[in-house]
Amino acid sequence: MSDTEVLQVVEATVESTDVELVEEDLLVEDVSIDGMCGVY
């Protein structure tokens, strides 16, 4: 899977999945995708 394909999958998953918000800043939102079973 190419980098672009991985990012497309990850982005689609983030939009549709409740993920743990690790840290939030005014300008940066950081999330971990560990535990997203079935993403790949």
């Binding site: 980098d3 990012l7 690790v22 800043d25 005014l26 300008l27 940066v28 939102e29 950081d30």
Partner: protein, 77 residues
């Protein structure tokens, strides 16, 4: 001096940019396009303050916090 970690992929987005770290599997959403400009100026030889010259002084604290967050999460090294 900071620069993007070599395992980080950057994709500009309408809202700012998406960073993905292939080593840590973390995602960072940059919610301001100017922050992407700052990050891209950090090439390992440019200081944070030099990279922030285009950002208005009153907004720089928030940008510094954002860069610290990116460093803590390994996006910048």
């Amino acid at each position: 001096m900071l620069s993007l970690h070599p395992q980080v992929s950057v994709r500009p987005e309408p809202f700012g940019a998406l960073l993905y770290h292939f080593g840590t599997r973390r995602l960072s959403f940059l919610k301001d396009r100017r922050l992407l400009d700052v990050v891209q100026r950090l090439d390992g030889s440019t200081s944070v303050e030099d990279a922030l010259t285009a950002v208005p002084e009153k907004e720089r604290p928030a940008f510094r916090r954002a860069l610290s967050t990116l460093e803590e999460t390994g996006m910048l090294a």
